[in-house]
Point group: C2
Chain length 136, copies 2
Amino acid sequence: MNIGQASNATGVSAKMIRYYESIGLIRAPLRTESNYRVYSSDEVHTLRFVKRARTLGFSVEETATLLGLWQDKERASAEVKSIATGHIAALETKIAELQSMVKTLKHLANCCGGDDRPNCPILDDLAGETIKTKGH
Amino acid sequence: MNIGQASNATGVSAKMIRYYESIGLIRAPLRTESNYRVYSSDEVHTLRFVKRARTLGFSVEETATLLGLWQDKERASAEVKSIATGHIAALETKIAELQSMVKTLKHLANCCGGDDRPNCPILDDLAGETIKTKGH
DNA sequence: CTTGACCTTCCCATGATGGGAACCCTTATA
DNA sequence: TATAAGGGTTCCCATCATGGGAAGGTCAAG
């Protein structure tokens, strides 16, 4: 299997496969005589693991740790779980931040006429003026 | 007011103030004889506008547009509102993605013993094995 | 007059990804 | 069998917003 086929089989772009190899996330595969990378099904499996971890929002660094644990048959599941729960916490923090932005923006958008006139509470807020809540 | 004071007054780092100037988001301020940037209260006001927009998650590009509208006394508030609602939609998409990650991870973490044993559904999932939901 | 706290510019790094050039290899088809 | 299409290879550059740090000029307080 060459890199294009491995890419199709895993959803990881050839570009990223080479990148993961260059930073040491995955091992360098064997090469053909003409210098093409050749991937075994084991290596494809590893790529799928990486893809899934990235899809779940783990950083490349966290993914490297998880890969290490995956390959360590002696690992304690507690270690994996703690990485996962830490990641969940980070995601939830991020979600809360975004939700707070949305909340503020919705309030502002709700107070804005959205018409031809220049009067605009959204800009007033950005400019630091306190907003007068529309009666509700 | 020099750049450090402007930074303190707005919460935008001196580094970022220079950057915003370099990309044309804000105008280059006057300089002293010794080449120090000098900020007027108007310019500080603009910096605060930028800071607020960035805090609300607008990109620098969107912020530039909003700044332009702010300074255009003839703008239609509808234009501002449409940028805001577009941004809200983008944030909500992002939130939904993160929530979906959290949901999956919570499920996996919930199924994981988190003990000394190597058995770990989180890794099994990353490796592509279907997970057996713990009875609930 | 020295010291320390500013300021200036310039370059480099981040994280994860894509774009593209220049060049080599393989495979199918005319 | 010659050629073209569609791989592969390396290498460099760009993104977005931000920070770090070096080398050097300036200002204010002691």
